[in-house]
């Protein structure tokens, strides 16, 4: 099971963490990966400048609402295999 943790602290929230969450939820549903990916929220990863911060397991990525799809295909899908 892969765990994706999205920062929902104030700074990331203002940069669009809700859209990032919604984007990921849609993509995961589209590909039927609900059983393989667990989504979670956290308040602040201490790297507010690079938000929206997202952890794939323990690896940190910087994502924005515009780059969700790219992040999903380049960072999430390859790590599932």
């Amino acid at each position: 099971m892969m765990k994706i943790t999205i920062c929902i602290g104030s700074s990331c929230h203002l940069k669009g963490s809700r859209e990032v969450v919604e984007g990921l939820q849609k993509l995961i549903a589209r590909d039927g990966l609900k059983d393989k990916i667990e989504l979670a929220g956290t308040f602040c990863l201490g790297k507010c400048q690079t938000g929206v911060n997202v952890l794939v397991n323990d690896e940190r990525f910087s994502v924005s609402p515009e780059t969700v799809e790219e992040f999903y295909s380049s960072a999430v899908l390859p790590r599932l295999k």
């Binding site: 929902i8 104030s10 929230h13 203002l14 667990e38 989504l39 979670a40 929220g41 308040f43 507010c48």
Partner: protein
């Protein structure tokens, strides 16, 4: 720069700041007995009969700043020697009595409590007087006044009386720890116990948030406090004290509104559970109504519970306007989530104990909640949020909210509801007048505070409750 409403608050702040300074330094136990002398170095007394009494009282204030009397379960405590033993409440005749012939006062008194001395001046027999006030209305010289002890007058639920020695006494079986008396006593003889030492200890032992993270859950009434700086600077200040991150209690309020509206629609009648003093009031004085209290945790406890689920090792400190919160965090159902609670007054003391001038800091973001979560801070906001949540969830329920502004209105509404004659189907109870923005732990209490909160509400990025709480449902299937 005016930070407080009264000099009593300022004095309390000076004590808190001194205690905090030594605690950060680690020499509190050695310097403890010197603190009164630090604050009143000597010379001419400015508050009491002599500097020695001033220092004796300060020693008691230091004790309260360090958590107070551990044998007293209440967080609100009387400092016996600070109490000026104001004259007993009730009507009395002043020097303005001219000793007239008419004796209207005597004629209107239903209890024959008024007599006259050799100079024909009126006297009231306290044994007979029932404080109806008719004599005061009748006197053409306004010579009869109604004296009220400020503490007893502040306590609308009558939990304060006079002890045998004349000092104020709190009946813990009635007291709801709202802190009205704390704010109103002109001598500062009643105080809320402080847990700043727990918070400092928690921050120190976290080793810079390495061992565990310390989060602050900040109440939305922050918008009407620290108005000498920007909100973002207050948040920076909290982080500078050593907190890892601030989260809005208002996000918890959004969550509460969302689930409360459903509970209300299912049960048909509900009293709110957001204000800990109001909940305590129902339990103590209207036990039969307790079954109608919403099952929701308070907003702060709701968000704290969520945070502890995402990070079980973290510590959470509530920062707000509320003295009753200090009681709430001890409840079995809240204790696992909130580790400590401090007031805005205490936060100001903590800032200054570290010489943090927040006006010089950059701004940090604080944006988790919606407009509706944020307006919980003022009377009527909770009912507005429940109405919005009903709409957003498409629940068909005819909400008739009774927004009670202050404990007197709460009492009136509960008395009616108790006999099945409630004016509505949802009682929003706020013990403090104005709502949380009138809380005893606020730095200031001003008319424009409500406008400050509404403005802060409108600044929220999320416009709906659903959007604000969507983060809370990550990983859960949406309802």
């Amino acid at each position: 720069m005016r930070k407080f409403d009264t000099k009593v608050q300022y004095l309390k702040y000076k004590v808190l700041r001194a205690v905090a300074r030594h605690a950060w330094k680690g020499d509190l136990l050695e310097k403890l007995i010197d603190i009164p002398k630090e604050i009143v170095p000597g010379g001419t007394p400015t508050m009491r009969c002599c500097v020695y009494k001033e220092r004796a009282i300060l020693a008691e204030r230091v004790k309260i700043a360090m958590g107070g009397d551990p044998t007293n379960p209440n967080v609100i405590e009387v400092i016996d020697i600070a109490c000026d033993e104001c004259p007993a409440s009730g009507y009395s005749v002043t020097d303005a009595c001219r000793g007239c012939l008419a004796h209207r006062c005597e004629d209107v008194c239903p209890k024959e409590a008024i007599t006259f001395d050799e100079q024909h001046k009126a006297h009231i027999d306290k044994q007979k007087c029932v404080n109806c006030g008719r004599c005061a209305q009748a006197c053409q010289y306004s010579a009869i006044i109604n004296r009220k002890r400020p503490c007893e007058n502040a306590c609308k639920i009558k939990a304060i009386s006079m002890a045998e020695g004349g000092e104020a006494k709190i009946d813990n079986s009635k007291c709801i720890s709202c802190g009205a008396c704390v704010y109103q006593c002109p001598f500062g003889a009643i105080s809320d116990k402080s847990y700043i030492l727990n918070v400092i200890d928690m921050l120190k032992k976290s080793s810079g948030n390495e061992k565990y993270k310390v989060y602050a859950v900040v109440a939305p009434s922050v918008a009407s406090n620290f108005t000498y700086a920007k909100l973002g600077q207050v948040i920076s200040g909290i982080e500078k004290l050593g907190f890892f991150h601030c989260v809005e209690a208002a996000l918890g309020a959004d969550m509460v509104a969302y689930s409360e509206c459903k509970e209300l629609a299912e049960k048909g009648f509900l009293t709110s559970s957001c204000c800990p003093a109001f909940v305590d009031y129902i339990k103590k004085s209207f036990p039969k109504m307790a079954q109608h209290i919403s099952h929701n945790l308070s907003p702060a406890a709701t968000i704290a519970k969520y945070m502890k689920e995402t990070d079980p090792n973290c510590k959470i400190v509530f920062i707000g306007p509320c003295t009753a919160k200090k009681m709430e965090v001890r409840l079995d159902r809240v204790r696992p989530y909130i580790d400590s609670a401090i007031t805005f007054e205490e936060l100001q003391a903590l800032f200054d104990s570290r010489d943090i001038d927040i006006t010089t800091l950059g701004e940090s973001a604080l944006d988790n909640a919606s407009y509706f979560g944020r307006i919980f801070a003022r009377s009527g906001g909770l009912a507005d949020a429940v109405a919005e949540a009903l709409k957003e969830r498409g629940i068909d329920f005819d909400l008739k909210a009774v927004s009670c502004d202050g404990i007197e209105q709460c009492k009136a509404a509960l008395l009616k509801a108790q006999v099945g004659k409630a004016d509505g189907n949802f009682i929003e109870g706020m013990a403090c007048v104005g709502g949380c923005i009138g809380g005893a732990g606020c730095l200031t209490h001003e008319a424009k505070n409500k406008a400050d909160v509404d403005k802060y509400g409108r600044q929220a990025m999320e416009k709906t409750i659903k959007d604000a709480i969507s983060v809370y449902n990550i990983g859960k299937d949406a309802e």
